[in-house]
């Protein structure tokens, strides 16, 4: 909470944390600290870091992402930090990371500090107020951005990107989210049992390993005032896997309003542009499986959110929603 006391405490923690990582004479000062309400899985705090060196005062806008007490996700800041650092030399626009407090021993909770880039995110930009040609241009460029992520050279860099599940990426991700359901369920969900059986029986094999963003959406794309992409944000779910996973996420029926334009930019348009950009053939049947998986993953996150609420660690009473459960049950009986 951004109470004055909380601000003071976090500001002091940040100054000590950063001072320990800069030259002794820099005397870093945290200015204008404020919490922003965006992002349901992390606490995001904005501030300007001011320090002196060689007689000059310098300022850098930064953001610290701290684990919240509870929410929709439990992920590792160290994994996100490693991926962001590995992306810095790549063409993918991403925020440069500065420092990591992996265990929260210095900043109270696991946290990473990174550059604050200009711009704003808008979940529903693609179907917003801009004229259709401008929205189509954005939709195409967002597709190209996803292609750039999938073209990142990840060969052999398991230290940064983690385990390569190879052709079994689908079952690997299914197992990962089944474990979340098992860990966080506060009541039985036979709907998810039925869905997991279906997903397991129909899991496709991955044609190649790419860097999967895991939550690709306009709400995570930072645009400046000229509509240039300054950064793709929220890499906490990124991992190595099947390129169809992100394609299934962006074309899942429950989120078409974020990614597709009725009558003008269909899933097929997206696939064709993606294929031209990447040279990766899109298997439509595999995307359909990942569409169902997207609902399962969403339900798993909602279950984590419900446990957080029940345990008093978050204020929103999440639970698997009716549309998500219907999507899963429809798939099971299709």
């Amino acid at each position: 909470m951004s109470t004055p006391d909380g601000l003071t405490e976090i500001g002091s923690q940040l100054e000590r944390f950063i001072a320990a990582r800069m030259d002794p004479g820099d005397r870093p000062v945290v200015k204008g600290l404020s919490r922003v309400g965006t992002g349901r899985s992390r606490e995001n705090w904005l501030f300007d870091l001011q320090w002196s060196r060689d007689g000059l005062t310098r300022t850098e806008p930064l953001i610290v992402r701290r684990d919240p007490a509870g929410g929709l996700l439990q992920t590792e800041r160290s994994a996100e930090f490693a991926i962001l650092r590995a992306l810095e030399p790549s063409p993918v626009p991403s925020p440069p990371v500065r420092w990591l407090d992996a265990d929260g021993s210095e900043l109270g909770k696991p946290s990473l500090v990174m550059a604050r880039l200009p711009g704003a995110c808008d979940y529903y930009l693609i179907n917003g107020d801009r004229p259709l040609p401008a929205r189509l241009d954005l939709a195409g460029r967002f597709c190209d951005l996803l292609a750039e992520v999938h073209l990142v050279d990840v060969a052999g860099d398991t230290a940064a990107f983690g385990h390569d599940p190879g052709p079994e990426a689908a079952r690997s991700e299914l197992g990962r989210w089944q474990a979340v359901v098992a860990r966080d369920s506060v009541q039985p969900y036979p709907e998810l049992t039925a869905a997991a059986h279906w997903l397991d029986r129909h899991a496709p094999t991955s044609p190649r390993t790419v860097l999967v963003h895991g939550d690709f959406k306009p709400g995570n794309i930072l645009l400046d005032t000229d509509d240039h992409v300054t950064a793709l944000l929220d890499w906490e779910l990124a991992h190595l896997g099947d390129p169809h996973e992100d394609l299934g996420w962006v074309t899942q029926p429950l989120r078409t309003g974020e990614h597709l334009i009725p009558g003008s930019w269909s899933a097929e348009d997206l696939f064709e542009r993606y294929e031209r950009k990447t040279g990766i053939a899109v298997d439509r049947a595999a995307v359909a499986w990942w569409n169902v998986f997207a609902s399962y993953k969403t339900a798993a996150m909602q279950i984590t959110g419900l446990r957080s609420f029940v345990e008093g660690r978050c204020d929103e009473p999440y639970q698997p929603s009716a549309p998500v459960l219907r999507q899963l049950l429809d798939a099971v009986t299709a």
């Binding site: 039985p188 036979p190 039925a194 929103e316 009716a322 459960l325």
Partner: protein, 155 residues
């Protein structure tokens, strides 16, 4: 007993409305207050339907499990028997019974997946469960503004 729980929740909502009307309230507090009133609204909307929903779901789940019991491992019937006579007297009891029945539905799906999901009878049993789960989603007052709880439990 008056005021009822619903009437008391309505009273709390009126108090929160008054707090929200105070122009001195901060923007973050206003957002928290909006969320609190939204949650309260959901609770008021579903409160009276929770117990009827649980009773219907328990009866329907039991009926499905009894119908498919011959397709399931032998110990299933023994675990189902006490749930057939368990009480739905209040929401706490109904919730406990609901959790137990839904656990069995999940285990039944596991058993069918391992055994005879691909046989005609296995498919029918699977379909019975999934059809019920779909009806439950539509009937759940915690998930719908206008839930459709069937009139007659099959118990």
């Amino acid at each position: 007993m008056r005021p009822t729980v619903g009437e008391q929740l309505a009273g709390i909502d009126r108090l929160l409305e008054q707090i929200g009307a105070d122009p001195a309230i901060g923007s973050e507090s206003a957002l928290l207050l909006r969320d609190a009133r939204r949650q309260l609204g959901r609770l008021r909307g579903s409160l009276d339907l929770r117990l009827p929903f649980l009773r219907w779901d328990n009866a329907a789940s039991l009926a499905v499990l009894q119908a498919i019991a011959p397709r399931l491992p032998a110990d299933f019937g023994a675990r189902l028997a006490p749930l057939a006579s368990a009480s739905d007297e209040d929401e706490h009891q109904a919730t406990e019974r609901n959790d137990a029945l839904r656990t069995l539905l999940g285990e039944a799906l596991d058993a069918l997946a391992e055994a005879d999901r691909d046989t005609g009878e296995g498919r029918v049993a699977h379909r019975l469960i999934v059809d019920h789960l779909r009806a439950r989603v539509a009937a759940n007052p915690a998930l719908n503004k206008n839930p459709t709880i069937p009139d007659h439990p099959r118990e």
